[in-house]
Amino acid sequence: MISLEWVKDYVDISDQDLKELAVKITKAGINIEKVITNHIDNLVIGKVIECVNHPGSDHLHICQVEIGDGNVQQIVCGAHNVRTGIKVIVSLPGAILPGNFEIKKSKIRGVESNGMICALFELGLEEKNEENYNKGIHELPEDAPVGVDPITYLGLDDTLYELDVHKHRNNDCYYHIGFAYEIASILNRKVTLPDISYHETSDSIDKHFSLKVETEKCPYYLAKMVRNIKLGESPEFIKRRLVAAGMRPINNVVDISNYVMLEYGQPLHFFDKDKLGDKIVVRNAKDKEELVTLDGKNRILKSSDIVITDGEKPVCIAGVMGGLNTEVLEDTKDILIESAIFDATSIRYTANSLDLKSEASIRYGKGLNYEYTNDAINRACHLLEKYAGAEILSGMIKHDKIDKTPKIVEFVPEEVNKLLGITISEEDMKVELGRLDFAYEIKDGKFIVTIPNRRLDVESNVNDIAEEIGRLYGYHNLISTVPITTVRRGQYLGDVKYRKMISKRLRALGLNEVKTYTLVSQEMTNMFNYEGKENKLLPNPMSVDKSAIRTSILSSLFNVYNYNKARKVNDIMLYEISKTYDINYTEDVKVAGLLSGNYLSSSWNKSVKVDFYLVKGIVENLLDYMGYENRYTFEANKINDLHPGVSANILLDKNVIGVIGKVSPKLVKDDVYVFELSMNALMSKVKALKYKEAPKYPGMEKDMAFVMDKSITSSDVIQTIRRAGGRLLTNISVFDVYTGENVLENEKSLAFKLQFMDPTRTLTEDEVMKLFNQIVDKVISAHNAKLRDK
């Protein structure tokens, strides 16, 4: 949250419409999500010209309040300090106070009241606490002009910008001076930095403290010592600005530390000097080392954390939170101020592992500019001297291993223009660099730019400079060009190609495409687990229902079925193609389908209900389409959660590539059929399409029927027939399956229609009958079958 009332200390924005300015800033790259003003309509300064007690109450008063132009309103007020003659803040009907509290004309215990006399906290200008509540209404000075806006009169007008915090540019724009620089760039103005001067005593810090830094994760550490602080309330502007930025004022010392942090982005830490002793050692924590932090919690540390110690025990988790043992309290007299830079990554790890994201750790985690580490500690001394009566000891304890190499970029204007695709003149580039406050010189037509340290996000490359120049120059100046087109049309590559083919086919066959989640519950991974694959379980799942990575889509499709069934949809045809992964992260793209209800449906005429053979037909159609005609078979198999008698493996070239079957009646009472195939198996190259002439010579058809044991499958018999029939036998189909009367209990009758054909001639009855008999004999002997009488 950025307070514009605060920013104006550093850059002149008095002539700006702040809503328009927010748009300009957003256009230049810092996303302002919300502009909040504290202006309230129908708020005026009034003078109480009469105040009498309310007859129906022991604490209410009936006031006559003059609100300008001779206009006098009657207002009932309950504050203890309301009295004739004082100037007050009046909310008139129509005013909307914080908390969406609208002032209306009303009657209070029978007496008309046309507004409300207010306290500052009721306007959001002060913290709402018991102390402020007890102060009663706010009394304005005697010379306050009646009828004008009291917030403006008090100089408390403020506009807040709420920033999008997700972008890394925010490491220089989330504090007020950094933000002022951004505004200065946009408006082409100069930044005025705050006063950081102070007086020092002859006593030097060196006599009181020594510093030792034993970790590489602390490249920069500064400390100043101040004495005889007078703890008390902060001045109004500090309190108000902290409240505006969303922080709670506590006392002048703590407030100053927070204030400076919000100014420079540099977190400070104040130690009670007496409790700390005479030594500071910065080191890596020891494993299991403990510290009770300011929030009263005992923290157990790891060796990856950084701690500030007094030489023995930790007194602060560096960059995250101070220890209770050195806290600044009412009786604190002398303070040690710390301003430092710690390794950003390390601080982020510590804050995460302790689950302790503090104002400080967030800022350390984004990275800091060492120049402001200096300025901030001096600014704190300035403010402590001014507002807490502190005496500042001379000298500063310092550990300095920070890399101060300036970031320099050399480029010719053409390089920037090439990246932007437009032509910005050298002169315009100079203007933009000036606005950015980037120092530069020009040598042999080359720009040599030094990037200021406060811009941690800008790296030494032309792209970064192009971005900075481009965004200020304005992206609305970009033209629309298209890279020179190639003649070649793009293609679906790899998996995608096959996924598209299969998807198209399954939709043509009436199946609806669905998309479900990769992460499922462990319970779901156990369903239909026909491959016996082990699932990867997430180490830190968000919830039980998203705790495992699926190896099959079937249970997800079954959920979609249930979802739709519950919504009275009865004809449900679904498919999904999705990557699946097992515990070894082996990828397998699965094609799964689920069908239930009527495949062809009519409300009054014949419908075709989904059954096993229909689903089998869909799978065969898909396999034929993919070019695997005659290469697949189905083999009965008992599969988890499928009907044991109505489920099968799907084989391609004798390898199992999937399953098909009816969902077990234990799971669902309706007839639901599913299939799932591994797409990887369907991605091999198949023969190119070739024209094949239809046969010219008529074929001959013969029927045969056998009685045999029930357990013999039709595909077995067909295989026998095919082998015995030879090349003239071109087609075999089952045309009747019969059990019941005239057939024994454990037997069935299967009838086949055989087609014989020779593409080069007409066959004779004799030769066909010879084959026919040959086939009958083979079937009888191979399957212990009987030829059925005609």
Binding site: G29, A344, G510, K515, L538, R567
Partner: protein, 345 residues
């Protein structure tokens, strides 16, 4: 019987024929084995030679009279039967049809396919990549080293320490495709795919969502080229009058980075709920490929440049089809999704 008698009898009988049956009966009566005309014909042998010719002619005449009559009547009756049959077979064509249905696409997939078509026409290949990724592709080679704050914005599902993860973006495919290109092949690709982040599911967030990644690497590629390319796709998706606006933004793997806004297709800039009263809608993040990213993937940034972009498929689909809850893409309600089995102009 005398021929003349037969003739008048026939005339009389003709008027008695009422249907196909009586017509056939008449045929039997006259032309059957013992039919009247058949009999006359057999009498011919008993007729004196000189009369034979005349008699024969008369019998033939009689025969053809009968046949003409027979043919005419037969056609008439058959047509009558057919007409009756056709009349009887008439159906109520207003009764409802037997439903012939093709499957509907998933709404996201439909949207993605539309985007794919546009990019393929501009020479971009469509690729796919692993959803379980290595940290180096998902982050490190995209200029996001371990511990970088940019990782915080993408709360990632890690599977093995910080090495293996469910990809939090489709951007790792930029790296994979560049590595395949060996620093010598120009690249045009888009990669629509699933991505995962630790977000709680609600109307606008989903722990699983789809991005459409795009990458072009070639010589002398500029931000203006990116703008022109984005123009093509948003006009195709939302209409020819759509205007694109670039806003500066910050991503680790592009520099300069932009956010892509389109003029609001609903209110045309006046301000409405869809554009949150701004007249603009953010649809993508994009930028010039960061020189570090090019370098790490084997492309010399001194010779090559490129742009990359990422659209959120859910967001595009929600905008295009006026959907206000992204969960509908994953909880298929067939009553809703079936309506997407339709062509679009």
């Amino acid at each position: 019987m005398k021929i003349e008698e037969v003739k008048s009898l026939l005339e009389e009988d003709k008027s008695k024929v009422t249907d196909l049956t009586s017509l056939n009966d008449l045929r039997v009566k006259y032309l059957g084995k013992k039919g009247i005309i058949t009999e006359l014909n057999s009498e011919i042998k008993n007729i004196p030679v000189e009369e034979k010719k005349e008699f024969g002619q008369k019998v033939n005449e009689l025969k053809s009279i009968f046949n003409d009559f027979y043919e005419e009547k037969k056609n008439y009756f058959e047509e009558e039967i057919l007409n009756k049959k056709l009349f009887d077979e008439a159906i109520d064509i207003s009764l409802p049809a037997t439903k012939i249905v093709c499957g509907a696409p998933n709404i996201l997939e439909k949207l993605i396919e539309e985007v794919e078509e546009v990019f393929m026409s501009m020479g971009y290949d469509v690729v796919d990549g692993p959803e379980i990724e290595e940290d180096k592709y998902n982050f490190e080679l995209l200029n996001i080293p371990k511990g970088h704050p940019a990782r915080d914005a993408q709360d990632t599902f890690y599977l093995e320490g910080e090495e293996i993860l469910l990809r939090s973006q489709t951007s790792p495919m930029q790296v994979r495709i560049m590595l395949e290109g060996n620093g010598v092949t120009p690249i045009r690709m888009i990669c629509p795919g699933k991505t995962y982040r630790r977000d709680d599911d609600d109307a606008t967030h989903s722990h699983q969502f789809m991005q459409i990644e795009g990458l072009l690497v070639d010589k002398d590629i500029s931000l203006s080229d990116l703008k022109g390319t984005i123009d093509v796709i948003v006009k195709k998706l939302f209409g020819d009058y759509i205007v694109t606006r670039f806003r500066p933004s910050y991503y680790q793997f592009t520099e300069p980075s932009v956010e892509v806004d389109i003029s609001c297709f609903n209110c045309h800039g006046k301000g409405c709920n869809i554009c949150k009263k701004t007249g603009w809608i953010t649809v993508a993040g994009a930028g010039i490929v960061h020189p570090n990213v090019l370098k790490m993937s084997g492309y010399d940034p001194k010779k090559w440049s490129g742009f990359a972009f990422g659209f959120g498929a859910e967001r595009l689909a929600m905008l295009k089809y006026n959907i206000n809850d992204c969960r509908v893409f994953y909880n298929t309600d067939l009553r809703e999704s079936r309506t997407f089995d339709r062509k679009e102009d």
